[in-house]
């Protein structure tokens, strides 16, 4: 039987709300840039297909963005409601970073979102395109600040501890802390990958159904190019990120590798393909290992060693199974993405990209893979940081507010019910929009122009069928 304390519930609540939340901004980041590209291509080539796709994904974007905003406000307040000791300790550092995020990104996105979604007939097309670009830039700026803040919690520097609080000394050092560049690029690519897989999966789904063929082909084609380039790049960046983590948070890497004990001289560190990390016995049960491979990946030599989990007392170790399994899921999905990209290229060379049923099914199955990989990646880095909330400075158990079990149980329960219902329905609406497919902006053959037949707004009358 597990005995939950109020702080466990607070941790579950945070993990639950932030995991739900991050899905939406990730799609927002990827789709905003995709929309800017589509609208730019339309302005440049005037090919109607780009406008068709732009209008189509903008509807999905609108639903997704609203969910990102409302689930994000929860995060902005949860630091105070549930983690008041963390806010008190580190607020002077994370607060200004969040404030800059609000000022440079949230307002920019929100300010130009209205024009982007509703301003097609109100402003000129160049100004509209500018608005779309500013929304996209806003999403990237937002990601930059929030990752600076998160990375500072992982690898803090540029501060002094005065009267038990972290006081900022050097803002450049705080923002450009050691793990920040790696985490920023890794997350940015993850957002683009997740979106490309979503777009590609949607295209493949329509091709399988034989609907919206022209638009579906374009989606699939663009997504596959993206995947081909970004997926291998992501593997490289992820590897670099891992090496950075090895330097600053060795126990996180030890947990990822399931590496419990000091290696014998010359033995090196094996790569544990599979196993069941056993925290009590300090070993992996049922382990299948490839000798020396982890040494090779992490130290670039066959017998290099890394610090094992037992080099620190048990209370300083993260909960290994979550880190261990999440890491494996992320890597496996990443490898599948690379495989998908390469398969796409091969089929494209043969002129079979849109025909092979098994490939299209593979694309559909991989539709949510980017989001799952991203979530598991965050589990690795956040659970791997434990038992610290600010690495080496403040323990998670010392960070919370003093709420009662009753208060925490009710709030957690409400969050779970509300999120599952509201965002569950929201995701269904998004999928229904995708299923319905793009509406042709104007007929290519009749050469109707935009003014004569404006994009049919999705009014109540064409409510989507679920």
């Amino acid at each position: 039987m597990i005995d939950f304390t109020a702080i466990d519930l607070a941790r579950i609540q945070f993990a639950f709300t932030v995991s739900f939340h991050i899905i939406f901004p990730a799609i927002t980041i990827g789709l905003a840039s995709y929309l800017a590209v589509l609208e730019g291509l339309w302005l440049y080539t005037r090919k109607p297909i780009y406008m068709t796709l732009c209008r189509f994904w903008m509807k999905v974007f609108a639903v997704n963005f609203a969910m990102g905003v409302v689930s994000g406000i929860v995060m902005a307040y949860q630091f105070g409601t549930n983690w008041s000791q963390f806010s008190n300790f580190a607020g002077a550092i994370t607060g200004p970073l969040l404030s800059y995020e609000v000022m440079t990104a949230f307002f920019l996105e929100a300010g130009f979102l209205g024009v982007m979604l509703f301003g097609w007939n109100k402003v000129g097309e160049k100004l509209h395109f500018t608005s779309t670009c500013l929304v996209a830039i806003g999403t990237l700026i937002s990601m930059t600040w929030i990752l600076a803040s998160n990375s500072w919690m992982q690898t803090p520097q540029g501060y002094e501890i005065i009267d038990g609080r972290a006081v900022p000394v050097d803002w450049f050092e705080i923002i450009f802390n050691p793990s920040f560049p790696y985490r920023l690029v890794h997350m940015g690519l993850a957002a683009f990958l997740a979106t490309a897989l979503l777009v590609g999966g949607s295209g493949a789904w329509h091709l399988l159904k034989g609907s919206h063929t022209q638009a579906a082909k374009k989606m699939l084609s663009m997504a596959m190019w993206m995947l081909l380039i970004i997926a291998p790049l992501q593997a490289f960046v992820g590897d670099e990120h891992g090496l950075n983590t090895l330097e600053y948070q060795p126990m996180k890497v030890a947990a990822m590798e399931g590496h419990w004990h000091e290696s014998e001289p010359g033995e090196g560190v094996p790569l544990v393909l599979f196993g069941w990390p056993n925290m009590e016995e300090e070993r992996n049960d049922y382990a299948i290992e490839i000798p020396h491979l982890a040494s090779l990946i992490l130290t670039h030599s066959l017998d290099g060693t890394i610090a094992p989990l037992t080099s620190v007392p048990p209370e300083d170790r993260p909960y290994v199974p979550i880190v261990f399994f999440s890491f494996r899921i992320m890597v496996a999905l990443g490898l599948l993405m690379i495989l998908l990209g390469i398969t796409g290229l091969v089929l494209r060379k043969k002129g079979r990209l849109y025909e092979k049923k098994w490939f299209l099914r593979f694309c559909v199955a991989m539709g949510p893979a980017g989001l799952i990989a991203m979530l598991t990646g965050w589990f690795v880095t956040e659970v791997g940081r434990q038992p610290w909330v600010v690495y080496g400075l403040q323990r998670t158990v010392d960070a919370s507010s003093a709420h009662s079990m009753t208060a925490m149980s009710y709030s957690l329960l409400t969050f779970v019910v509300l999120y599952v219902c509201v965002f569950g329905v929201g995701v269904r609406y998004m999928l229904a929009l995708i299923k319905k497919g793009p509406e042709q902006v104007y007929d290519n053959d009749n050469k109707d122009d935009l003014n004569k037949r404006p994009a049919r707004p999705l009014s109540a009358a064409d409510g989507v069928e679920l």
Binding site: V70, G91, G95, G119, A407
Partner: protein
């Protein structure tokens, strides 16, 4: 009196951010509150579309308030938000329902639509009432020991905080009605115009009630407002408020449709100003001042640079966005 040191400047910035939030999201939420009074589907669409392009930006001021408070007064952020766990959660749940309803009611099947319309109202109501309750609880204040909230989890629940919760319903309802007078025509316009008078009177009575109660529970506030040397400076405040109430009541039938909205904002601004004067220089009433709760100077300075440079741009493009969508909302074309 106040000095222009960093904590004071930051208190003004956060005060300004919260005011922007109350003004702007106030009318968004007000529209949600007025939703049950309007049955016609087309009119409901117009109500929602009158704010659809701007509500998200309006809500962002609340996020700025939260982040700014964390940056400038981390102790106040942690104490106040912990103490207000209940109302803050209700507000957040309300804002979630309200926010998604904006999008979902257009994307839903016909059979789901009544549900989202209902939740649009419920969400707006929850968020508004919770904000009002939070305001009342802040006026009463929180016990603080060693920089931590030292009270119970239901301390915020008092008759006064319930009263301020109701007051904010009238305030946002008034903002919503006057906003719709600006943005709509025909029947909807006439219906909203009729609401202005009763809502103004109710709100004025609420503001009077809060003004009487606040000095009664706080000796410092009483000493400040009823000190002869201050009365000369402070007397204009209630007088000007009264004038705005009269102007607002007189502008109901004006051919300048923006007038009631402007006067409603002025009336609320005076109330807000009075409240700020009463609480100054405390950020956690009744005892913790902005100086005790302030972040280190390096935090205040670093963030202030951003505020000074960026906020003018934010105001400029926010204004531009309102300008793009100016005028009456005539139909639902071009929306979704």
């Amino acid at each position: 009196m106040m000095n222009f040191d960093l904590p004071s400047i930051w208190a003004l910035i956060i005060g300004f951010g919260l005011m922007m939030y109350v003004f702007l999201d106030g009318f968004d939420l007000g529209i949600g509150l007025l939703f049950p009074l309007v049955k016609n589907k087309h009119e409901r669409d117009i109500m929602v579309n009158s704010v659809a392009p701007v509500w998200d930006g309006n809500e962002t001021w609340l996020v700025l308030g939260g982040a700014g408070l964390l940056a400038a007064f981390p102790m106040a952020y942690s104490v106040i938000l912990s103490a207000l766990y209940g109302p803050i959660l209700v507000m957040l749940f309300g804002l979630i329902l309200r926010g998604v309803a904006f999008e979902f009611r257009f994307k839903a099947t016909e059979s789901h639509r009544p549900l989202w319309d209902k939740l649009f109202f419920v969400g707006s109501f929850m968020a508004t009432f919770a904000q009002g309750v939070a305001m009342g609880a802040v006026i009463i204040g929180f016990p603080v020991e060693n920089g931590e909230f030292a009270g119970g989890s239901l301390d915020w629940l008092t008759p006064f905080s319930l009263f301020t919760g109701c007051s904010l319903l009238f305030a946002y309802g008034l903002l919503g009605a006057t906003w719709l007078v600006v943005k709509t025509e025909h029947n909807l316009y006439k219906q909203m115009r009729k609401l202005i008078k009763p809502l103004t009177i109710l709100l004025a009575l609420c503001m009077l009630g809060i003004s009487i109660y606040t000095p009664l529970i706080n000796a410092d506030v009483k000493a400040m407002w009823f000190n002869w040397s201050n009365i000369v400076y402070l007397a204009p405040l209630p007088i000007i408020t009264g004038i705005f109430v009269l102007l607002l009541l007189g502008s109901v039938n004006s051919s300048k449709h923006y007038r009631p909205f402007i006067y409603a904002l002025c009336m609320l601004f005076m109330g807000y100003l009075g409240l700020c004067i009463s609480l100054w220089p405390n950020i956690i009433p009744p005892s913790v001042s902005i100086y005790e709760a302030a972040a280190p100077e390096s935090s205040l300075k670093f963030t202030l640079v951003g505020v000074v440079i960026i906020v003018p741009f934010i105001l400029a493009y926010t204004f531009w966005s309102y300008y793009v969508f100016r005028g009456k909302v005539v139909d639902t074309e071009g929306y979704h």
